[in-house]
Symmetry: C2
Subunit: 479 residues, 2 copies
Amino acid sequence: MLNDSSKKVKDITSMNEDFARWYTDVVKKAELVDYSIVRGCMVIRPYGYAIWENIQKELDRRFKELGHENVMMPMFIPESLLQKEKDHVEGFAPEVAWVTMGGNEKLQERLCVRPTSETLFCDHYKNVIESYRDLPKLYNQWCSVVRWEKTTRPFLRSLEFLWQEGHTMHETAEEALKETETMLEVYADFFENCLAIPVVRGRKTDKEKFAGAEATYTIEAMMHDGKALQSGTSHYFGDGFAKAFDITFTGRDNKPHFPHQTSWGMSTRVIGAIIMTHGDDNGLVLPPRIAPTQVIIVPVATHKEGVIEKAEELKARLSKDFRVKLDASNNSPGWKYAEYEMKGVPLRLEIGPRDIENNQCVLALRADGSKKIVSLDNLEAEVENALNEIHDILYNKALENRKEKTYSCNNLEEIVKTANEKNGFIKALWCGELACEEELKEKAGITSRCIPFGEEMEDGVCVCCGKKAKNLVYWGKAY
Amino acid sequence: MLNDSSKKVKDITSMNEDFARWYTDVVKKAELVDYSIVRGCMVIRPYGYAIWENIQKELDRRFKELGHENVMMPMFIPESLLQKEKDHVEGFAPEVAWVTMGGNEKLQERLCVRPTSETLFCDHYKNVIESYRDLPKLYNQWCSVVRWEKTTRPFLRSLEFLWQEGHTMHETAEEALKETETMLEVYADFFENCLAIPVVRGRKTDKEKFAGAEATYTIEAMMHDGKALQSGTSHYFGDGFAKAFDITFTGRDNKPHFPHQTSWGMSTRVIGAIIMTHGDDNGLVLPPRIAPTQVIIVPVATHKEGVIEKAEELKARLSKDFRVKLDASNNSPGWKYAEYEMKGVPLRLEIGPRDIENNQCVLALRADGSKKIVSLDNLEAEVENALNEIHDILYNKALENRKEKTYSCNNLEEIVKTANEKNGFIKALWCGELACEEELKEKAGITSRCIPFGEEMEDGVCVCCGKKAKNLVYWGKAY
């Protein structure tokens, strides 16, 4: 398709006209996914998968630096195994796919396709943990999981999605809690420093926490339209699963103990977060640190002698430090500009005969449309600076958007009005009761996103029932 | 477990006593897999998965250098889609797992868990191929697939296994055939130059080829016990699937054409090949280029001043170029030697007080048990040389074993006698008829491994029926 100059690139819906349609248009036009014949499943195309590979590389490096090791569990969970932890099975059983036949035979016991792998990890941990010397176990796996969703959207909610799931076992509760916090911070740091997406770190309410967990920590990002996207979660299980699965270890005191457990996951949803945080009416806008192509070189007046050669020389130079592509095709520069804008390539390098004469080139920043002329002498440093600048522009834009769309409400009337009129984060006090959480869902259509870390709460009353408040909560509509 | 010095490392069955038990002992003792609660599925433990990650890295780099891109297809195939290509469905339908329930609802159409993804790729290619300008499509995916096997063994044959599957579409038959050959050579080169396993390259007979393919190319490796392991295959489909799926493109002549297709795959079976080719009675023996740990540093007399420090210094030095671990635990050197021999670490570096005095260390080669004293001055070069030497030792040993166990037979009596008495490759002429292939299976218990490339065939008669021979064939018992 790239080479066919007769096709228009830019016929996508405007963001402000219809954000949902804009999203699906971008996903298709930027060639990230193709809809699959299998309901609710997606085909991740080369450009989309290359983004995922860069995400994987960054996260995997961070995990390994902290001592985690990758493993692979089976994709199937026997029904009896799924049922071992009561809360867990209640949360997941309604939304799993069941294998009931193998070849031509009916199975004696149904197998579900893993929606998450706590039960499989526990079954394995039982075999390999004997003594405190075997702890901690710091495992992770990269795989796909299946959740039988009714309505689906590429990256945001699909029957099958790719993710990583970390599963760790520890000698003490303190250690496990520390791991839960550490991994949340790894996610937050990745979002802010790799994806240029600011996040609110916090704890989920009991209603919103993971099935079977004692506590769920989350990072919540705000999309361009003001809706929230839960972007990564880290769970503390205490010894609940260990007890259900009878996993014990001999402690330093020579007595049996239950180990303490965590799990944490991040998925291809992240790609949805990137699209909806940074994208605009010209298409995708990729943060430089995970963009498959960081710099696209577009030669101008390619028929003039020496232009293609110079462009190739620059490509060779920059390829040592950056992910660079050169488009030397016969398509017009204008077509190319639109194409790589749609694909969200962070930096465009234009080089033509006059530039060559002047030993310079043009750098065009996708993030804000600005251009600058730079000398070819220290091009590497110029590109490096421009990519960092783009990262900062994107981060600050997103932060600005979040600030604009974060509201404080003090009573039920205010919160209902705000939620009806706008999308955004609503900060409001809460008594801690499920009833109030459910009432806010019903009356204002919002859910609790998290109880934020590191934000001081003033004394006050619950926005819903008026009783003494326990927590400051971020509320919002969510993807 | 590593830290518990009370556990014995080396209680494994001897290879010659019982090769099959030796294999499963090594797989367990070297901590490559754990048996899973799910019948026929395996848990790949950190050490096993680290080997797979190195295999992935090497193969993925080779694929990408040739212009291939990674994608991700759904894991499910609707029954009607699987049935579109007649031969393909006949080959695979009897051995797939069927999802029949999603959540609490019975599905209107069964979904199989992919045993291979030709049908899914074709369904996608139909959407994205319009013109010859869209060709070739050079796609690959890393995923797991499921085949409902009755008897299973870790890595060699399991219900679920990890693999990569390349799927490409081309403008012409010639181009597709060239791709099929190129990818077989990528596999062969990877086996010989990364895994130190010599292979026979060849073509499968019609009986043994992939369901739906016009031709299947294979690399066949010989295990230590003389049995064959089909280690990687590359298929040429012609335009059969394209016709079944109605995939056409507008050619340079402005007329519609069917594209020509290939697929090629390599799986976690490769780890089985490594174990059974290089392993010995002390455990695993890993080829240096994919070993998770290439050098294990074992300090001797750790209580003496300066020993640990020197070991750490060497670790820091070598870690720049190699994958290095230091075991500074309190376990005895003898225990450590046995442990890392079991794990198959290619090179052990011993350093003690006297070595430090003499500015030297000992390098012990896992491949042949030899030791050498080397100066610390150019340790990097010494280690590099030793690792290359180990690669060559392993390759030559395996080649020697294959030569010893390759036989030529001229008539039915000879081939039956040889196959009854020995495992190995049997080279014999064949008329090309299925009946003879089946008779050899029945009478000698052997299957055709391949019609080798690049081996000249002398005139002669079929070893089975005595009619004029068409092909020289490698026969054998296979995993």
